[in-house]
Amino acid sequence: MINQLKDVVTGSAEIAKAMGVTLKYFFKKPVTHQYPDEPVEVYPRFRGRHVLKRYDNGLERCIGCALCAAACPTDCIYVEASENTDEKRYSPGERYASTYDINMLRCIFCGYCAEACPTEAIVLEHDFALAEYNRWDAIYPKERLLEPHDPDYIVLRSDEEFKLSETWGKK
């Protein structure tokens, strides 16, 4: 009997403790995101999906030099270049990429392509939602890679937040 009573008391204490934790977190801000209903915040230097940039006048920055493909450690970029004509102009110089494919299944998001790019045309931006229903769809053609690409489910952390995160990693 005594023992049973003891169990009840300790059990209740445990429950109370557990409920205490629950209660504590009940009033705290939740850590989960309502993705995709709510946008996800990413750090500005987060390396996500590639985007092919444009100049302000709308011309493509990419000149089809294939240095990104040469730098790529997984060989996931395929570039074919062609010559601009005055009638059909894609980029400012003589040369543009007529084909620009990235195999996102192979890409390891190392960012070497962006580093190799002489015109800062290819940039690893922040989109991370790269799942596809079909493997072939994971090969992104130029049309998909080109700007604009601003998914509404991603927001950048502001600079203020960056400053707050100075303690990041220091406990």
Partner: protein
């Protein structure tokens, strides 16, 4: 005193022949002196100043004339106060050269690079040369790390300045090394490029009409040390490092130029020459460079087709092959084996042709095979077997002491790289070239002797030369006695022939003939080249053979006869016995010789025909009718040609870039090529198709590869003994192992193969004596009134393969009749007017073009242009006819 000198380069001693340039001497010890304007094949100019080195010579005491010695007894070296260009300075005994060990020279080179880069746009990311660019590489190796030049001050010039319709100049990138200008002047002998203006405004121009009018223009892009010259074809085609370089051979003419297929993603992006000093050195012609587009054409046949009524419908290989087996079997059992026949074009490889003849001779059991349809028929040659040029012949090295006799070949059109080598031997190395022909050709400007004979008298000219050799007592007695037989008979025959009439028949003076005969007979080495326009005349071939034998110009390197045959493997086709009367290896067919192509293509000749890589239907109406009357026609082709459209079964074959195999070139050099790109659809290699047909007819051949076929050829054809792929593909050791592209302009690494020549009868001491043949030339053509119609071949032909190459389409002539100005005036026509050319009731209408190289009384109608107009008038076997030309 020996002909070698020893010098020290950066502390390393090297011994080289006298007269060597420092840069070449340094190459031998793998000391790479950087250069831009210097090119191993051209005269040095010392323009770019990149190769500055410090040069010192042992000081000579003026009093004693002996070298001065320092305290330790070493010779004192006096350095020149200024740096010297290593590319223009020749070596001398005891010379000391400092390349990397001299700080001054290192600084000078850095300075030159900084200077060059001040005007260079530095657009390497978009430059086609990027990755294989001497300027890039040398800048990284020798250049300054950064430039002090203000980028704002860069001068800008046109970046897309077409020099012609094939070559585009980027004036900004050009560093004025003049390699292209010098290539055109010194190697192509087409001085159509020049530098215009001076100082920073200097740039390359071409004022020829049409612009950059040369068959060799593409080579300038190879020798260009920067990306200034690009081909219209390959502009932005691929980056250098992305391409896989596959050793291949050009399949457009018989020279057998070694090429490299730059392939990427299963397509050919560019074709560049592959070094083979014995064949094409470092060059290829524009046809070879730009004529590869048929490989990737969307019109290629991809699957077998079987005729169902009027339609050709797609079928599987099994269906197609079993149908062929069934039909051929039925025809054979009903009408006998000789009712079947086969025609194989000389574009096929040795392996294909061997299996082809084996299929017909061993499985079907007939000798009805031939390769001479249309153009091929225009020239036969058996002289190569007896007196072909000796093994080891190198036209690129012959010079003083060599006489080259060219009869009736317009080398610039027929065999362009041979033209470069013959003209180079004449101009650069001092060989005596005698150019005999019926009209002025480009070679005339580069040779010492020109013999302009009347068309149709080439055989008489050859006999005249032979008679003159005999009468001048220039016969190489000892050699001729030991290796030939029938000299006395020949002399008698020549006497009866009446050598004195030669001058009259040929229109040449006796003196000219005697002088030419003397030049040829007395030369240390003698090479005879003969081509299409000399006529398909057994008398000519016998005379040339006898001429080579009588003068002793046979059986050794740099001596003998070269026939300029039309196709890539015409020589191989003869070697493989694709002739109704000859087995592989020039063995005559002992009995029941078969029908020739022309006989097979006459109505009622055969009932079933297999045509591979040939398109006779285009050439003549009568062929077309004959083909229509066949019971069964099988065509294997790359495209649905006119002949293929008439076939009962069409089989898709692989192009030469899509498979491996071997070709035998004009000089009997057997060379191999590799597979570069995948074939479209379900195409098979030709030998595999023949094997499949043979299988249906009961054979149990088990060739696994072209290699395997060649293995059998080496066993069964004695000429080809030892020529299995292992030997043929063995890379030769390059003399220069360093990155020679800085010197010569090709950066890729790929196999360099030399190929193997088979030996002629004259070269074997144990062979029986060669009979000297004499054949009486045919009577001169009847004295009909009219013009002599000559049908030369043009480099840019109107055939199906070249039609796919859009870049050169503008160079392919429309059919036209070329007349001399005086004849045109007589007829009252001028360029552009159309005329009716008629002979024996056949008439065609073509426009006239007044061409100053044509002599009076001659009309040129190129034979390999669209519609094959000339074939209709001169017939496939004849070369000339007298035609009536009227204004229409």
């Amino acid at each position: 005193m020996s002909d070698n000198v020893t010098l020290t380069i950066d502390g390393v001693q090297v011994t080289v022949p006298k007269g060597t340039l420092i840069v070449e001497a340094a190459k031998q010890i793998e000391n790479e002196i950087p250069v831009f304007c210097y090119h191993g094949k051209m005269d040095p100019v010392g323009m770019c100043r990149m190769c500055l080195v410090e040069v010192g010579q042992p000081a000579i005491d003026r009093g004693t004339g002996k070298p001065e010695l320092d305290e330790d007894g070493n010779p004192v070296v006096r350095f020149f106060p200024k740096p010297m260009t290593a590319c223009t300075t020749t070596v001398s005994e005891g010379m000391v050269v400092k390349v990397d060990t001299s700080e001054a020279a290192v600084d000078d080179r850095k300075a030159v690079l900084e200077f060059l880069l001040t005007s260079h746009p530095l657009d390497c990311p978009v430059c086609d040369k990027g990755g294989e660019c001497p300027l890039q590489d040398l800048t990284i190796r020798h250049g300054p790390g950064n430039s002090r030049f203000d980028y704002e001050d860069k001068q800008h010039f046109p970046k897309r300045y077409p020099l012609g319709d094939l070559i585009v100049l980027d004036m900004e990138r050009c560093i004025i090394c003049a390699r292209c200008v010098r290539f055109q002047q010194e190697i192509a002998f087409d001085p159509v490029l020049a530098i215009e203006n001076r100082g920073r405004r200097a740039h390359i121009v071409s004022y020829s009409k049409p612009g950059f009018d040369s068959h060799y223009s593409g080579n300038t892009t190879d020798v260009c040390p920067v990306g200034a010259l690009t081909t219209r074809d390959f502009r932005f085609g691929a980056r250098a490092w992305e391409m896989t370089n596959v050793p291949s051979l050009c399949n457009h003419c018989g020279v057998g130029c070694n090429t490299v297929l730059g392939t990427r993603a299963g397509t050919i992006r560019r074709i560049m020459p592959r070094q083979n000093e014995a064949v094409n050195e470092l060059w290829i012609c524009d046809k070879g460079r730009f004529g590869h587009h048929f490989n990737g054409s969307p019109d290629r046949l991809t699957t077998p087709l079987i005729r169902k009524g009027e339609e050709l419908v797609e079928a599987t290989w099994d269906e197609a092959l079993s149908l062929i087996g069934e039909k051929f079997g039925a025809i054979k059992s009903a009408n006998g084996a000789d009712s079947l026949g086969g025609i194989a074009g000389a574009r096929l490889t040795n392996e294909d042709l061997y299996v082809f003849q084996k299929l017909f001779r061993e499985i079907i059991g007939t000798n009805n095979i031939d390769h001479r349809v249309g153009l091929s028929a225009a020239l036969e040659d058996e002289t190569a077997f007896t007196v072909g040029v000796g093994v080891g012949t190198d036209l690129g090295s012959v010079g003083k002491g060599t006489t080259i006799l060219n009869i009736g070949a317009d080398l610039d059109q027929d065999a362009p790289i041979l033209y470069l080598r013959v003209a180079g031997a004449s101009v650069k190395r001092g060989a005596h070239v005698i150019n005999a022909g019926g009209r002025r050709t480009k070679l005339d400007a580069q040779v010492q002797t020109t013999l302009r004979y009347n068309y149709g008298s080439a055989a008489r000219l050859a006999l005249g030369l032979l008679a003159s050799v005999v009468s001048q007592g220039l016969v190489a007695k000892e050699w001729a006695d030991s290796r030939t037989s029938g000299m006395a008979d020949l002399e008698k025959a020549l006497k009866n022939f009446g050598a004195d009439k030669v001058a009259e028949a040929t229109g040449l003076t006796t003196n000219a003939i005697d002088a030419a005969a003397k030049a040829f007979a007395e030369a240390e080495n003698g090479i005879i080249i003969f081509g299409l326009e000399a006529g398909n005349d057994p008398a000519l071939r016998a005379a040339l053979e006898a001429l080579a034998l009588a003068t002793g110009h046979a059986g050794k390197p740099n001596n003998g006869v070269i026939a300029v045959l039309p196709h890539a493997n015409s020589r191989g086709a003869i070697d493989m016995g694709i002739l109704p009367d000859r087995l592989p290896g020039y063995k005559p067919v002992e009995s029941n010789a078969g029908l020739s192509a022309v006989e097979m293509l006459t109505a009622g000749g055969v009932k079933g025909l297999l045509i591979a890589a040939a398109d006779p239907a285009v050439e003549s109406e009568s062929y077309k009718q004959a083909l229509q009357q066949l019971d069964f026609l099988v065509v294997q082709e790359l495209f649905l040609t006119e002949t293929a459209q008439m076939a009962d079964v069409v089989l898709p074959a692989k192009g030469n870039a899509e498979r491996d195999g071997s070709y035998t070139n004009l000089e009997r050099r057997v060379q191999t090529f590799d597979m570069g790109v995948p074939a479209p659809g379900k195409a098979w290699a030709d030998w595999l198709i023949f094997t499949g047909i043979a299988g249906q007819l009961g054979a149990d051949w088990a060739y696994a590869s072209a290699d395997g076929v060649m293995a059998e050829i080496t066993q069964r054809v004695p000429l080809y003994a030892g020529m299995d792929f292992k030997n043929l593909t063995a890379p030769i050791s390059l003399q220069r192992k360093t990155e020679h592209y800085i010197y010569e302009g090709m950066s890729f690494t790929t196999d360099i193969r030399e190929g193997i020549q088979w030996a002629t009868v004259a070269e074997s001491d144990s062979a029986p004596k060669i009979p000297l043949r004499f054949i009486e030339p045919a009577k001169a053509s009847s004295q009909e009134q009219g013009l002599t119609l000559v049908a030369p071949r043009m480099l840019y032909d109107g055939g199906r393969l070249l039609a796919e190459a859009d870049v050169v389409n503008a160079h392919i002539l429309e059919p036209q009749l070329m007349l001399s100005r005086s004849d045109a005036q007589k007829l009252g026509v001028s360029t552009g007017d159309s005329v009716t050319v008629s002979q024996n009731g056949t008439a065609i209408t073509v426009p006239v073009y007044i061409e100053r190289t044509v002599s009076e009384g001659v009309a040129l109608l190129p034979r390999n242009l669209a519609g094959r107009p000339a074939e209709k008038l001169v017939g496939p076997n004849g070369l000339y006819s007298t035609v009536k030309v009227e204004k229409s």
